[in-house]
Amino acid sequence: MAGVKTSRFIQALGPIPVVGLFVAPLAVSLLFILPSLVDVTGFVSLFEHPQFWGSLRLTLFTGVISTVLAFILAMVVVVQGTSFDRADNVYMASQAGPMLALPHLAFAIGLGMLIAPTGLLSRLIASFFTGWIEPPQWQTVQDANGIGLIAALVLKETPFIVWAMSGVLSREDVKRAFAGQRSVALSLGHGERSIWLKVLLPQILPRIIWPLVAVFSYGMTVVDMALVIGPAQPPSLANLIWTDLNDGEVLANARGAAGVLVLTGIIAVLLGGAAMLVKSFQPLLHRNYAAPPQNQTAMGLSLPLWTIVKLLYFGVVLILALQSISGHWPFPRLMADQYTFKSWVRLLHDGWPLLTSLILALSTSAAALLACVFWLETKPEKFDRLMLAACALALCLPPLLIALGQYRLFLQLGLTGTASGMFLSHVLPVTAYVFIMLQGPYRGFDPRWRSVSDGVVASSWRFYFRIKLPLLKAPLLGAAAVGFAVSVAQFVSAQLAAAGRFSTLPMEAVTLASGSNRPLFAASALALMVLPLMAFLLASHFSKSRWKPG
């Protein structure tokens, strides 16, 4: 049911904003990929590339392991933190929020500064235990197996999965159903662990499948993060592709495009395989459900994992802050020789990247929010499936694929290096996220509010602005904050669309990664963190203030 009583004309306009900002650019971008499908030279060159198989192996390893580990870690955290008598999981979700807001790239930069051979960790060990005077020959970042990259991915994705799981668990209907099932299972002799594994998780899993797919797809295709913390010989497949796409040789460009298609295909095959695996395993779990397990062990893991994760996030922010104001800081000193705000002054003095990121984030999240609300107000719920499918496509396809098609489209339209090109390249993923965040709460809005207000003869617009919007304030602000964060974190599509004319914070950070100014690098990573964090804090602050009917 459409919320505001609107004319047929306006209702017919409903899809135009989302189609113009999101669906059409996405579809046309994907069309522009098609010529590469039949470009045989690119594929031949790809399979002959000496690093292809090594890169593929590395990417499979880091992508699969990081997703599995993040899932397990999140599961343990949720199991440890959930009590059916209290509202703990909601508490957990609110803690996950700020962690989600930290862009992957900034997190990887900070984690690298913690665990690198000259990082804080080795300085602590050197100062208190071993007395090293030269940095240890640790292989913690840019290591051949991508362990550093896996660590960064796992730590960054765990809060996201925890947040998704808590979202499911905090729904009233789920909570009631689970509490009931739990008491039945307890009476059958199941322990807590067995209840989680055999009863609750198999029900949660299907509900968080899309977040998991997004996590996996991200881990397999991330470019910026792997550039700063991943290995180089060979690099991850996504980085190999990225180098080729930016190469000065035509053949390398074709090889990069072929690589994007191959990577997309591999992800699709793996996801299909995983889906089949899950399907064949689920009955197995249910079959065992009737018979309680023989040896009951207590909840095994008592390690405060969630606390450890939170501490690591704190450590990352701390080291970035310290490094950004440090002057000369030789190993193994725990403190820099002097502290200076030089890097911050420089960052703000040449403030364009910060400002560009801020303007893009504000404009794209606002535009996406308006477009999505317009759709939700004018189109009946049954059409949402189409939008959700487009969103899933946008979030699960490798960003490299969309960005490449978009770059080709922009070239034809003369949009590379223009402000509109930058806006469009950012608003696409932002709209996808905003719609996904908003759709549930918006459609779940209780229609009885409308009837009540009809009863007091409130006008349609009055109802909308005085009652509906205030009631939906929290999800609206939340979706805007997510959109804002997504915009700030864009790298691949932004870099291609910018044609050097624009620089955003992640682009600046990646450029600085190849330089040797660590304080400035840290400051730019911190700036990259601060923007989305502010958005989240503002959103949650304003969500809390009570709605007063008026």
Partner: protein, 400 residues
């Protein structure tokens, strides 16, 4: 459909550009300076070092003050990106290209020259070109065995140079063989950036020079047969052994020279490398490296070259780009660039051609970190060796 349309657009664009470039070239300098006023020059330049970025910012501010030309530094990590972008834009018929000036040399210049992606000739018509030391510094007209033909304007000189903390490295290795011995004695403390990083490739070229008795083949285009033989000899005869003692056992390599420099500053590595002989002194002055830093070149010589600025054929601000390129060649801008406190990049000018007042700006005393053991400059091999070496290296060492 797209291909035909873009073909048409490209042809049209190319012919109109050819016309404008001829006109611009024929016109006198005052005309160029007039046309440049109010233009914004998007200068695409590698931005991996602070001091260089700061210098470009200074030069841009001066150009705006003096000539009304606004300069925007487009910070890039690899010039190959610019080659690709210009090619894509020209192919899509974009005449108001995103690049007005690019910092370039070697294989990127060769690619752009061969594909006719460059505006010009313009360089030798710049008023300040008369001051360039074309006799003493032949690489100002010969870029990696490719004739420049006025398609790029010289900006600075470079020579491959090594540096270390003299307190830790008492006797610096003056050849690749000595470097290998040093690395063996200090396992895990020496490395070089992975090719195709510019510095990594130069390291390979330097090793190739020192391991190849007859250098004349290196000045001809790399034929697959000869190149294959020479690189195989280099790898099995020298690099395989060297890699065993390198940082991370020669299995991983830093991605950039700046990373190597950072690791030297941290003490994680003992020897750093650079293309700018004055960089170590500059880093000492900046406080990044200790005052005990020493710099040297190999006794039998190290690779030297010139770096340039070029204007793409579809540049929007072609006049502004020429005015800025001319300013970069001025004694004042070259002296400031030469100054260790700013950048320390050696000049392309012949100091003897300057007025005594201008020449004074180029005098400098030895400071901590300046090259104490110099070697002669060796000309770059033919540009095609870059690709051949990078490919062979990737085949052998890039698999992990």
């Amino acid at each position: 459909m797209f291909s035909r349309r873009s073909f048409l657009k490209t042809t049209l664009a190319a012919s109109s550009l050819a016309l404008t470039s001829r006109l611009a070239f024929a016109a006198d300098w005052a005309f160029v300076e007039n046309a440049a006023v109010g233009q914004t020059v998007y200068f695409n330049a590698w931005a991996g070092a602070d001091n260089i970025n700061a210098y470009i910012a200074w030069a841009g501010a001066e150009a705006e003050k003096r000539y009304g030309v606004k300069v925007e530094h487009v910070k890039i990590t690899d010039t190959a990106e610019v080659v690709k972008r210009v090619r894509d834009e020209v192919a899509a018929g974009k005449t108001d290209g995103s690049v007005d000036l690019v910092w370039i040399n070697g294989e990127n210049f060769r690619a752009m020259k061969q594909e006719k992606l460059l505006f010009g000739p313009f360089a030798e018509a710049l008023p300040n070109f008369a001051l360039v030391d074309v006799e003493g510094k032949p690489t100002t007209r010969q870029d990696f065995s490719e004739t420049v033909d006025g398609l790029e304007s010289p900006w600075g000189m470079a020579q491959f140079t090594f540096f270390a903390d003299g307190a830790k490295v008492a006797k610096p290795p003056r050849s690749m063989m000595e470097l290998a011995a040093f690395s063996k004695a200090n396992p895990g403390r020496v490395t070089y950036p992975a090719p195709p990083d510019f510095y990594g490739t130069t390291f390979l070229k330097q090793a190739l020079f020192e391991q190849t008795p007859d250098r004349s083949t290196l000045y001809q285009a790399a034929e697959p047969g000869t190149a294959g033989m020479l690189t195989t000899d280099l790898f099995s005869g020298f690099l395989d052994e060297l890699h065993r003692s390198l940082w991370r056992d020669g299995k991983q390599f830093p991605k950039t020279q700046a990373e190597v420099t950072q690791m030297v500053a941290d003490g994680e590595l003992l020897i750093g490398l650079t293309f700018n002989p004055n960089e170590p002194a500059n880093l000492v002055a900046a406080g990044t490296l200790p005052a005990s830093t020493i710099a040297w070149q190999h006794a039998a010589g190290t690779i030297g070259n010139t770096h340039f600025v070029a204007i793409p054929v579809n540049a929007k601000a072609q006049a502004g780009a020429q005015v800025f390129a001319n300013f970069l060649l001025s004694p004042e801008a070259q002296a400031k660039k030469n100054d260790l406190k700013t950048w320390g990049d050696p000049t392309v000018l012949a100091v003897s051609k300057l007025s005594s007042e201008d020449a004074k700006m180029f005098m400098a005393d030895a400071v901590p970190g300046s090259v104490s053991l110099p070697g002669p400059a060796v000309l770059e091999p033919h540009a095609s060796w870059v690709g051949a070496l990078e490919k062979a290296w990737l085949e052998r060492y890039g698999r992990g």
